[in-house]
């Protein structure tokens, strides 16, 4: 079952006087299928709502704004504002925005109160499910791609491990949250960012391998090169300075530095061939440098808010960037020309991560969802919503902050995520649920997976590391 189905069908149907006919209709359907079965469809659910609410102005008789909602085909055509329904993308569909009375769109129905929440939810689930026309319409499910592992690099003869680094100094009075975390692609090596330093750990022995100083400030991003020999460290001091520094993993030697920013660097990556370094941050810019001479290759000015996530595709042809205002773009990595706009999230993007085969990019957001984007057409192939929403404690009303804080693909094609529900979760290559540990002692801030696929490593808000053998019942703190 696709993840959509797992989330889509839990639509909460509160009984309401207004909805009585529709609810009854659903219950009849539920008798045929199981209650968890099909998503709402046009014929049975959506058309009756629209008929009741919209046809008077957007039907056969009158087509205000050139929009006719009488038939599914006509509705898909849209009106003067263009398409009003986007398959699998409810948040981007103008029809849903209008009935939600969101800012910047015409509020529908005009001059009267919103549709009942239940009807809006049905429409949202219907769009999410791919606008199925009839019960069980086969073509409505989004495309999925089987994951075929393809090795993105060649294993070096002796994967780099740090040696003879100075011991880990005391981090200060208290430790900051783990703001950056990375795993070597070829060795049992974990790098973690603390205040003014990067510490290394052996993933097998869970012992500390020393640290390298980062006087530039707090590291926000750590990335190993494809061969595991170079470590990219990006960060800085908030509202003061930001930089990207490349270190030699074995010796801790500084190799190069890029950028001279006025605020910390929040997102960075280097291209698989090591020729480009991209950075982004509060200045809303994506800057891409040539590593050879440090010169600026190009600058992207399209983001409207802080750039919070960046990643080159595994083949190096594309660069994806995401921002604090939920915008995601995919660029031609060589030129910075735009390739795709991935609009569907509602809040800040926390992670962007490519499936190792490059067919899918996964985005994680503070809105609590993870979306797997099909890189062939730019449409979501799976939308996982509310996956890190904390369980309500006692009687609580309203929206609980449930952001996804960190998301990463592991070499075998699985995903690991951590979020504000104090849980770490593992997902299969198409977003299917695998295993999870809930109730971690503190808020997990970053997650990564070891090179051999055995462990998930979690950084927490108190600066500690937790180690989770995937599938195990609990994660353990560094001894």
């Amino acid at each position: 079952m696709t993840p959509i189905l797992s989330t889509a069908l839990a639509f909460p149907l509160k009984r309401s006087r207004f909805l009585a006919p529709i609810t009854t209709c659903l219950l009849v359907l539920s008798g045929i299928h199981s209650t968890q079965a099909a998503p709402p469809n046009w014929d049975d659910h959506i058309r009756p709502i629209l008929k009741n609410r919209c046809f008077k102005c957007h039907g056969e008789e009158d087509q205000k704004g050139d929009l006719n909602l009488q038939t599914l085909a006509a509705a898909l055509k849209g009106g003067t504002s263009g398409e009003v329904l986007k398959k699998n993308r409810p948040n981007s569909s103008i029809l849903l925005q209008s009935i939600l009375h969101e800012e910047g769109v015409e509020k529908m129905p005009p001059k009267s109160s919103k549709l009942p929440d239940e009807e809006i939810e049905l429409i949202r689930q219907w769009i999410l499910a791919g606008l199925p026309e009839k019960s069980g319409s086969p073509s409505s499910a989004p495309a999925t791609f089987a994951f075929k592992p393809s090795n993105p690099g060649t294993k070096p003869a002796n994967p780099a491990m740090p040696a003879n680094l100075p011991a880990l100094p005391s981090a200060g009075k208290r430790a900051n949250p783990v703001t950056a975390l990375a795993s070597s692609p070829w060795a049992p090596l974990i790098a973690t960012g603390g205040h003014g330093q990067i510490a290394f750990f052996n993933a097998e022995t869970k012992t500390n391998l020393g640290a390298i100083p980062f006087p530039e400030g707090i590291p926000q991003v750590l990335r190993f090169s494809r061969d595991g020999s170079t470590l990219l460290v990006a960060g800085g001091k908030p509202v003061q300075s930001g930089k990207v520094v490349l270190f030699d993993v074995a010796t801790g030697k500084r190799l190069a530095a890029f950028g001279d920013e006025t605020d910390t660097v929040l997102a960075a990556d280097f291209s698989p061939d090591g020729k480009l370094v991209a950075i982004g941050g509060p200045n809303k810019l994506v800057k891409v440098f040539h590593t050879a001479d440090g010169s600026l290759a190009y600058k992207i000015t399209k983001h409207m808010d802080w750039v919070t996530a960046l990643e080159f595709s595994p083949d190096g042809s594309r660069l994806a960037s995401g921002d604090r205002a939920a915008g995601i773009y995919v660029w031609e990595a060589a030129t910075g020309g735009i390739a795709m706009t991935l609009a569907e999230h509602k809040e800040a993007i926390s992670s962007l991560t490519w499936r190792p085969d490059g067919n899918i990019i996964a985005s994680a957001s503070e809105d609590g969802s993870v979306i797997l984007w099909n890189m062939k057409d730019g449409f979501p192939s799976a939308t996982l919503t509310g996956i890190h929403t904390p369980k309500p404690q006692g009687k609580r009303y309203g929206k609980v902050p449930g952001g996804v804080l960190s998301l990463v693909w592991t070499p075998e094609g699985h995903m690991l995520s951590v979020g504000r529900d104090n849980a770490v979760r593992e997902w299969d290559s198409n977003g299917g649920k695998l295993s999870a540990v809930e109730g971690l002692p503190t808020l997990p801030s970053r997650v990564t997976g070891t090179f051999d696929g055995k462990l998930a490593v979690i950084g927490d808000a108190e600066g500690r590391l937790l180690w989770w053998p995937k599938g195990a019942k609990e994660a353990t703190l560094t001894p």
Binding site: S113, R396, K399
Partner: protein
């Protein structure tokens, strides 16, 4: 950057350093000598500043307005402007305040109750200086986020509406406005962007601190320096791990201000306020350095950011301290410097109104004006009660009468006139947003609007008690044709029914308070919380409208099973709750009945006082609370005793509006002349003289029509209808005059929608526009005078009486004769007519 030397002192310092280098200067510190702390000085009167290189010692000498005189050890003196101090210069301000608090109180005289409420002042100057520093607000033990940290954001204006308290935050960081959502603020500070705003590993490098001290770019600038208590609180909190509070942290339950009243004799006197907060655990503490201060009238009493009040011009006002969600006020009275006040012997009270107004005037040492002449009184009361000027005959009869109670008799006659009801129906039409529309799709149909208007007229013609008048509308059910009072729920902006808008309107109309601020956050300047707001909204969530037997008709009913409103912050359902009252059990019932009962009950002083205040404002142009529908802690009555007594009387009169009006118009206060005296020229709030008021738009138009006997024609209305009788706004019929003179567009319930301002376009319209010219051309008044061969003196007198309600003076008559032909022609009379109608005396009530 963080030098404790005040910026304003820096220029002074240059000269001081020079003086120090002169050998003849006595007591100059040697160069390189470490800065001396105030504890080490031998003379407590010497205060020291140091930036590490130079140090200055100075003695406070005296206060002079906003200036403090200091004498340096060199003997040189300097004047420093206290109001120009920057936040970074807090240490100087605190020391100056220490000086002020121990020498400058009390300069006030007169009130013994005040003297006893003044806190005892320390006698030792250094003790005064240190006790008034902000040091005491830094906790010695664990720093609490809610108790200690949140108040710093409040005091430093971090969470104000123009900064991070704005709905979308500022530069990406949001705090709840004035701190109504502590849990959300804690999340945003510590967890929203992990590792950015708070640096636990190196607390002093936390962005929060660097921004506040201006060490990194900050749009909001430097808020405080590292030595300040505010900085110490934040730093200590981060050093302790930036912990959240445990669930049972003590909440602020109220604040107290000392002294509770301030009295000054003469300008430029100073007094420091102290503010104390009490907490739910029973504790209380001095939060003077954490409160924010504001004055209602800077020219009478100014207050600075440390709570120091400076007296100004003769008069009364209030100063306020705000802390947490509480606001508290202290009335300030500034008496004239010279104490030779005498009450005019003839100014004797005739009823309770005079007693209360005169008591306040005596307290403020303001003399009332003399009594208005018969002509002035007649014009004033006739315009106020009927919306029309008195006729020639009425003037002649009234002036000629020698009955001692003729003014009281006149009041009774006018109160019985049918025009009285038209005036009040029009006023309430404004407040109730009464509008009709021929397209029932975009508003309430004309037929319903006409019915509603007729219902209003009927209520006032029958003098229906105000409690019943309001009750009938708030609890109304039925067709808006046959039960016109249900149109209370149909007169809506854009035709949309919205429970929140309804709740706001009812609070504003019936209680004189504006609760809309509390929709998104606790009311910053009043006591209303979001809980109060959503509880009140829940009375209106069940109101439904359905089409009745014809498309133009609505049927209003209540869905008794409708869910209550949800709290904006956490979506909690809020059962119906009365403002400041309890939660009536309305399960399965129409909650509006319980609401209407409570609203109009005699115990509900908010209702009685606000209704009485609405009545009062009709006769003085302003309310005792003004605007009349904006009572709040920060907008108190100008005379609380009067405000409360008016409400009590209305209750005692069983909400008989006419009886209250009779008290008002027969009071000496109402009958005072508008001519000001030297003593009361600055007063505009204490009713020491009659206000000079521009005629309301409709009254002005009707007065022109009535004086010229030239009717105004209204579409859809029979001939002879006055503007005051129109069910809708006249401006909707394209009356430029009414729009120009500020007639309410009836889009909101705000009483200030009926704009009484005087504008240049009004003057230009009267001079050049078609209203006066047209009426004069239409008028038969001059024609009749000429036809009857009226002698010029009588003709001029007639025109004067019709327009200004008085006879011309001999001088005025002489001027007319000099300018006019003999005998005067039609042109001469028309010109006089034009000049009279264009005069300020005509357009104003006085």
């Amino acid at each position: 950057m963080n030098s404790p030397i005040p910026r304003i002192l820096r220029p002074v310092l240059c000269s001081v350093v020079l003086l120090f280098q002169t050998p003849s200067v006595h007591g100059a510190p040697e160069p390189g000598k470490p800065p001396v702390s105030s504890k080490q000085t031998t003379s407590p009167l010497w205060h020291i500043w140091s930036d590490g290189k130079n140090s200055v010692e100075a003695e406070f000498l005296s206060l002079d307005g906003d200036f403090v005189q200091v004498r340096l050890r060199s003997g040189a003196t300097h004047r420093l402007n206290l109001t120009k101090l920057q936040p970074a210069d807090r240490i100087f301000a605190e020391k100056a305040k220490g000086f002020i608090t121990q020498t400058a109180i009390p300069t006030a005289t007169g009130s013994s109750s005040l003297a006893s409420s003044t806190p005892a002042q320390p006698t030792n100057p250094t003790a005064a200086a240190s006790s008034s520093t902000a040091g005491s607000i830094v906790p010695t033990g664990e720093v609490s986020f809610r108790r200690d940290v949140m108040p710093v954001f409040f005091r430093a204006n971090c969470n104000s509406g123009g900064c991070h308290g704005a709905a979308p935050g500022k530069d990406g960081f949001r705090l709840s406005l004035f701190g109504y959502d502590a849990a959300g603020d804690y999340f945003r500070l510590t967890q929203q962007m992990l590792g950015r705003r708070i640096d636990l590993a190196a607390p002093e490098e936390s962005l929060l601190l660097l921004k506040a001290t201006g060490d990194v770019t900050h749009t909001g600038g430097t808020l405080f320096d590292k030595k300040s208590a505010y900085y110490q609180i934040l730093l200590k909190w981060i050093e302790q791990g930036a912990q959240n509070d445990s669930a049972n942290v003590a909440e602020v339950t109220g604040i107290r201000i000392e002294p509770a009243k301030l009295l000054f004799q003469g300008p430029s006197k100073r007094q420091a306020l102290k503010v104390f907060a009490s907490y739910s655990d029973g504790s209380s503490r001095d939060i003077t350095p954490l409160a924010l201060y504001v004055t209602n009238n800077k020219t009478t009493a100014d207050i600075n950011e440390d709570g120091l009040v400076t007296s100004g011009r003769h008069g009364a006002t209030d100063v306020f301290a705000r802390f947490n969600r509480f606001t508290i006020g202290a009335p300030v009275v500034v008496l004239p410097q010279e104490g030779t006040f005498e009450w005019p012997p003839d100014a004797k009270p005739t009823n309770f109104i005079d007693e209360l107004v005169f008591a306040k005037l005596k307290h403020l040492q303001i003399q009332p004006s003399g009594i208005a002449s018969d002509e002035q009184f007649l014009r004033r009361i006739t315009l106020d009660l009927t919306g029309l000027p008195p006729t020639e005959d009425e003037i002649r009869t009234f002036v000629a009468s020698i009955k001692p109670d003729k003014r009281e008799r006149l009041a009774d006659i006018l109160l019985a006139r049918p025009e009285y009801a038209d005036v009040w129906a029009a006023r309430w039409g404004d407040w109730l947003k009464l509008l009709g529309d021929t397209n029932s799709g975009s508003g309430t149909d004309t037929k319903a609007a006409v019915a509603y208007h007729a219902w209003l007229v009927e209520q006032f013609r029958n003098n229906v008690p105000l409690d019943r008048f309001i009750h009938a509308q708030v609890a109304s059910v039925g067709s808006n044709f046959s039960q016109p009072e249900t149109n209370f729920y149909t007169m809506l902006p854009a035709g949309n029914y919205e429970p929140k808008a309804m709740a706001q309107s009812v609070a504003q109309l019936c209680l004189g308070i504006r609760i809309q601020c509390a929709e998104c956050h606790n009311h910053p300047f009043d006591r209303w919380t979001q809980d109060d707001y959503y509880g009140f909204v829940s009375f209106f969530t069940g109101v439904r409208r359905k089409m009745a037997s014809e498309p133009r008709e609505y049927y209003i009913f209540n869905d008794n099973s409708a869910p209550p409103a949800k709290h904006q912050l956490d979506q909690r359902p809020m059962p119906p709750r009365l403002l400041g009252g309890g939660e009536p059990n309305v399960q399965g019932k129409d909650p509006r009945n319980a609401l209407a009962d409570w609203l109009t009950s005699p115990e509900n002083t908010l209702f009685a006082t606000s209704m009485a205040n609405r009545v009062w404002s009709q006769f003085f142009g302003i309310g005792v609370v003004d605007p009349i529908d904006d009572l709040r802690i920060t907008n108190p009555p100008s005379n609380s005793e009067l405000f409360e007594e008016l409400g009590k009387r209305l209750v005692a009169y069983q909400f008989d509006q006419k009886r209250l009006i009779r008290d008002i118009v027969t009071s000496r206060t109402y009958q005072l002349s508008s001519r000001v005296t030297r003593s009361n020229k600055d007063d505009s709030r204490q009713f020491s003289h009659a206000p000079v008021r521009r005629l309301p738009s409709i009254v002005a138009l009707d007065a022109i029509s009535s004086a010229t006997e030239a009717e105004t024609h209204w579409n859809h209305h029979p001939d002879g209808y006055r503007g005051m009788q129109i069910y809708d706004t006249g401006r909707r019929y394209g009356s430029y005059f009414l729009a120009c003179f500020g007639q309410s567009d009836r889009e909101t319930s705000d009483a200030t929608k009926d704009n009484r301002e005087v504008t240049l376009s009004q003057t230009l319209h009267l001079i050049n526009g078609d209203t006066i010219q047209g009426k004069i051309q239409q008028s038969q008044v001059v024609t009749k005078l000429l036809t009857a061969k009226t002698p010029p003196e009588q003709a001029v007198e007639s025109l004067y009486l019709r327009s200004l309600s008085r006879k011309p003076s001999g001088e005025e008559l002489a001027v007319f004769k000099k300018l006019a032909a003999t005998p005067p022609t039609r042109v001469d009379y028309d010109r006089l007519w034009w000049a009279l109608l264009n005069s300020t005396e005509f357009l104003f009530q006085h």
